[in-house]
């Protein structure tokens, strides 16, 4: 971790990465644990939110438990010189939750554009993938859809305490 994250921020991350205390005054509980004032904890959390060090504070649902039982990672081999234009269009689709340009790993892996599609069934996801396929047209040379079939681990970030 770099100098931009000082020791107190780091201790706050370690104290909250598994979750915020489920007590009426969670920031006060953290303050007691860290030996600082509740105002300091709240100011640090606010500053980390504003600087994007905290993306958001809230509930992280298990997708499967809330009805998104099909989770398809669609992967596409498109020309590198068109990828930014195509990626931006794919990312703007309302059913795409993440879209990234990633490196190929030839020969095992020819795909350079990744778009995550969530739905209530594989059929729903595949219908959406067909829409992406149509949008890409001739730019799509190969594609595949990898469905998650098991969650093997989902703890999120864990830095050493």
């Amino acid at each position: 971790m770099n100098a931009a994250t000082d020791e107190l921020d780091r201790r706050l991350i370690v104290a909250t990465q598994a979750g915020l205390p489920l007590v009426a005054q969670p920031y006060q509980a953290l303050a007691e644990q860290l030996g600082v004032t509740p105002d300091t904890v709240m100011a640090r959390m606010q500053a980390m939110l504003e600087r994007g060090k905290i993306r958001r504070i809230g509930a992280v649902p298990n997708h499967y438990a809330i009805g998104y039982t099909a989770n398809g990672m669609s992967v596409w081999d498109v020309p590198d010189e068109q990828i930014d234009e195509l990626g931006t269009r794919i990312g703007a689709l309302d059913f795409v939750t993440h879209a990234y340009h990633r490196p190929r790993a030839l020969p095992a892996w020819p795909y350079n554009l990744f778009a995550m599609v969530h739905g209530s069934s594989r059929e729903e996801v595949l219908t959406k993938v067909d829409e992406i396929r149509a949008l890409l047209g001739a730019a799509c040379r190969h594609h595949d859809v990898l469905f998650s079939t098991r969650i093997l681990k989902k703890t999120g970030l864990r830095i050493a305490g």
Binding site: I54, I57, Y64, A65, T88, H101, T155
Partner: protein, 167 residues
């Protein structure tokens, strides 16, 4: 069978749980009594919100409740990586990979084209150098190659899913 979660088991959630999930995926207040403030917006009591969050965490409806850190803004890195794990060796490799604290999430993935890359995980490390170091450690521990897929460009990222009506 494994220390993993089956995709099919869907815990029961009622209308109040749904409202909590839909309303509290972000914007949780930073104030003295944040649960009371959030509960007020939802029209329920502070105690009820706390006990429902506790219950949803225990039932694994929620995987976490708290801040989502963007470690890349703090000098760290998140990188997607994959391995081609032979079926006969699955249990051993799964246990070995999951034992690394740098492995934040891990999913088994399969495709109709039978892609050989069937284990996909996200590495989260405090420094950028931690990624190649962890990749090398996982390769040494498993004896299998790890393919890192760092993002070269992110076109969109937003992950706020509303609760679906039961199919």
């Amino acid at each position: 069978m494994r220390k993993a979660q089956d995709m099919g088991n869907t815990p029961e959630i009622d209308a109040v749980d749904r409202r909590i999930i839909d309303a509290l995926q972000g914007d949780f207040p930073i104030c003295d009594r944040p649960y009371a403030a959030a509960a007020d917006r939802l029209g329920i009591g502070e105690d009820e919100l706390l006990s429902r969050l506790q219950s949803m965490l225990e039932r694994k409806v929620l995987t976490r409740f708290g801040p989502m850190f963007q470690i890349e803004r703090m000098g760290g890195a998140f990188v997607l990586a994959a391995m081609a794990v032979p079926e006969a060796d699955w249990e051993r490799v799964n246990d070995t990979v999951n034992a690394f604290p740098e492995v934040a999430h891990n999913y088994r993935r399969e495709s109709d084209l039978n892609t050989p890359l069937n284990m996909w995980f996200v590495l989260a490390t405090e420094t950028k150098d931690g990624i190649p170091a962890t990749v090398a450690k996982i390769e040494a521990a498993t004896g299998l190659p790890v393919y890192p897929f760092p993002k070269l460009k992110e076109y969109f990222v937003e992950m706020k899913l509303s609760v679906r009506d039961a199919a």
